[in-house]
């Protein structure tokens, strides 16, 4: 069984779906979204208690040592439920970067706390002018005493406001667009000389634009080998893409369900909208887009341990697909709800917004399509 779920995975899915049902009614969602933090610490603690933050962390570091499939199950259910807690930044992208290039001491420092819910992370990659090209880094970390001096800007860093520590990609060498010379650092939230401007995201989460002005870092804050972060970064990015794809599939699935329910209930011209073929065919197209996305999202998770070329190719295909499909399903769900679809009244607008946000994370549809197009060979 490649694409099917094991019994344990099915049980995990039931458990996460129950969490969402019990804690994430639409009214509760609004309450969490309106809070300053944009999420609920109580939910976060519950996730930690349930072991979900520890799912893909090895047992040696206090984790459950399960696979990326379990993480995908959780992300898909979170997508269905519009879950707001900063799970992805901490337990997916952040954890994968630590696991890929952290020293033993750093893993021991970060991961057990992370697994227990006592450490939130945000990962600062994107910079103005670079769009989605993650190797185009102008943030500089120059040697200074027994450490580094960090200077530069990062934009749209998801979950930075709540993060205890930031993981920052900066250049210790090489030209601004070179793969070589990239290094990963960690920075505590209260480090001096960091200016943070916080924003609500389109999907009611929180992000920050950051300015680093001669921020002093110790040697111990370098994660991994200086100048050699590119390969491990791409591996962590592909893991994080797989997780986002699963979340998007959850959101799309929920959008289709809600649209079907609405069309069965809403009557015009004396009958339910569900009887009009034009609308039925639109739903059929939405179902197909969702199932195509589900196939590629799972394929992406299945190939995360492949060599980098194949792993990244499938991740690019999956991310491109869910961007296209997310846009189609989201827009058409709103359309098929008619007038009420363009209000703030229903979850569907927020699922559309979540899919928009996912498209801006780690490269949009066009970016990944171009990556594949640029490497077409006979």
């Amino acid at each position: 069984m490649e694409f099917g779920q094991t019994d344990d995975q099915r049980q995990l899915q039931d458990s996460v779906d129950r969490f969402v049902r019990e804690r994430y009614s639409f009214e509760s969602w609004r309450t969490f979204a309106r809070a300053d933090a944009g999420f609920s610490e109580e939910n976060w603690r519950a996730m930690a208690d349930l072991g979900w933050l520890a799912v893909a962390v090895p047992e040696a570091y206090g984790g459950l040592g399960l696979s990326v499939r379990e993480r995908a199950v959780i992300m898909e259910s979170f997508g269905r439920g519009l879950v707001l807690e900063p799970y992805w930044s901490t337990a997916v992208l952040g954890a994968e970067l630590l696991l890929a290039c952290g020293s033993e001491a750093q893993c021991q420092d970060f991961l057990p706390k992370l697994a227990e819910g006592r450490l939130k992370l945000a990962v600062a990659l994107t910079e103005p002018g670079a769009r989605f090209e993650w190797t185009h880094i102008r943030c500089r970390a120059e040697r200074s005493g027994d450490g580094y001096r960090l200077n530069g800007r990062k934009i749209a860093v998801l979950d930075a406001p709540a993060a205890d520590r930031l993981l920052v990609l900066a250049r210790t060498g090489g030209a601004w667009d070179e793969r070589a010379g990239l290094s990963l650092f960690w920075v505590g939230r209260d480090t001096p000389r960091i200016t943070r401007r916080d924003f609500r995201t389109v999907d009611e989460r929180r992000c920050s634009d950051l300015v680093f002005d001669d921020v002093q870092l110790h040697d111990a804050q370098l994660i991994g080998v200086e100048g050699a972060a590119a390969d491990v970064l791409e591996r962590a990015i592909d893991h994080a893409i797989a997780a986002l794809c699963s979340e998007a599939v959850g959101a799309m699935t929920r959008l289709v369900e809600m649209t079907v329910d609405y069309l069965k209930t809403r009557k015009q011209f004396g009958r339910p909208l569900a009887e009009f073929q034009a609308l039925r065919h639109r739903v059929a197209d939405m179902v197909m887009a969702t199932e195509q996305s589900r196939s590629l999202a799972t394929l992406c998770s299945l190939h995360l341990e492949d060599g980098p070329k194949n792993r990244s190719y499938i991740a690019a295909a999956a991310k491109s697909q869910i961007g296209t499909a997310g846009r189609f399903v989201g827009q058409n769900a709103v359309q098929l709800h008619g007038g009420i679809g363009v209000t703030d009244e229903l979850p569907i607008g927020h699922l559309l917004k979540r899919l928009m946000a996912i498209d801006t994370m780690l490269g949009d549809t066009s970016f990944h399509l171009k990556r594949i197009a640029d490497h077409i060979e006979v």
Partner: protein
């Protein structure tokens, strides 16, 4: 026992290399079905000798006993390496009906000659008045002693002009529900009263036909199952039919060919290599093929969305059509020529196009039928929607 799928793929590939003559492969590459009956028979016999005549059939009837991934790999390799496409009427359509619903006598009589290509079949379903609405068919069967008398007409009967037998849906009762008055018959195409008339399609080729029945006698022993239950048996077959049409191995072959043609300097110079829009179209099809392949594995594993076979039929047919159009686009001005004869005979020594770039315009035209045959794309959407709405 876990099966080494890579080793299996190599085994299939080695078989193809050894069994498929280069000349036949070249003709398949240029055509898209422009093969003779002898060509298809030759290939089916090669498969039959290997024990691969109908891999998906139960082992007791001649199947290969493969897992779902193995079946997919086999189809994939055959498509990628330009093997003659197994004509579906026998192996994929009536075969499963026979071993599922047929009597022991019928299985004994008909299954083996399908495997060995000693007998050819055609499908007598559609009528001029009954296409998507197949249940409205009116070809009449009247019981007369131990025979039925058939009067009426079938259309879009592909390869009726080669067929020894037809599996045929006829109306045995006009009272009650339309679906309940349909009977499934096996008709000997040599029976007096049958007339086959060719229909030429957009590619100017003769693949399909009209078939007229004038007091055609069919023994009751050639009925599958019970009178009036034909619709049930036919519906079972339609799901099988849908799973076959995705043809993703063939799509992979066309995708690789598209890149070869597009980036061939003698055809396109450097233009398409540097054309971001064209490259993006190729990339998008690559993504869609990858997704469809993954969806196929999900379908074969079972337990996925109930409408996956319809999604694959719809998605796969559209992918093939887009590929066929891009291959035409990749020819530039060469595409003005309707090179059907070259596809049949092969390029001359001084032809500006290599063999694999020929026959692309006729293929594009022939493949407009992919979204119509086997259940139109609109019908597939109806089926997917029906599952989604649960009605």
């Amino acid at each position: 026992m876990s099966i080494d799928l890579n080793a299996f793929r190599q085994e299939v590939r080695a078989f193809i290399r050894q069994a498929l003559p280069a000349e036949l492969r070249a003709r398949v590459e240029r055509g898209y079905g422009l093969l003779s009956k002898d060509d298809f028979t030759f290939w089916q016999k090669k498969l039959y000798e290997r024990g691969w005549g109908a891999p998906a059939w139960p082992v007791e009837y001649g199947g290969a006993g493969w897992t779902a991934p193995q079946r997919q790999i086999f189809e994939d390799e055959c498509g990628r390496h330009c093997c003659p496409r197994t004509q579906p009427q026998g192996v994929k359509m009536i075969g499963p009906i026979l071993y599922t619903f047929g009597t022991e006598a019928q299985k004994k009589r008909f299954l083996e000659p399908i495997l060995s290509a000693d007998e050819w079949w055609c499908q007598g379903y559609s009528e001029p008045g009954a296409g998507s609405d197949l249940a409205s068919l009116t070809t009449r069967a009247v019981l007369d002693g131990d025979h039925y008398r058939i009067n009426g007409q079938k259309i879009w009967t592909t390869l009726a002009h080669w067929a020894d037998w037809m599996f045929c849906l006829v109306r045995s009762d006009s009272n009650g529900r339309r679906q309940d008055g349909i009977t499934f018959l096996l008709v000997d195409m040599h029976t007096p009263g049958i007339t086959v008339r060719p229909i030429y399609t957009l590619d100017l080729e003769h693949h399909t036909n009209e078939v007229f029945f004038n007091d055609v006698a069919v023994p009751v022993s050639n009925r599958i199952g019970e009178e009036g239950k034909g619709w049930t048996y036919a519906k079972a077959l339609l799901v099988h039919e849908r799973t076959g049409i995705a043809e993703l191995g063939r799509a992979r072959e066309r995708l690789e060919r598209l890149k070869r043609v597009a980036f061939d300097p003698s055809i396109n110079g450097d233009h398409l290599r540097r054309d971001d829009v064209f490259r993006a179209q190729i990339a998008q099809i690559e993504i869609d093929v990858l997704g469809a392949e993954a969806t196929t594995v999900r379908l074969l594993e079972g337990g996925g969305h109930p409408a996956l076979s319809s999604m694959l039929k719809l998605g796969g047919s559209e992918i093939s059509q887009r590929l066929s159009r891009l291959l035409v686009d990749a020819l530039g001005p060469h595409a003005l020529r309707f090179d059907l004869e070259l596809a049949q005979q092969g390029p001359a020594a001084d032809d500006p196009l290599p063999s694999h770039a020929i026959g692309r315009v006729p293929e594009y035209l022939a493949w407009r039928s992919l979204t119509v045959a086997g259940g139109t794309s609109e019908i597939q959407r109806n089926i997917i929607a029906k599952m989604a709405f649960g009605d």
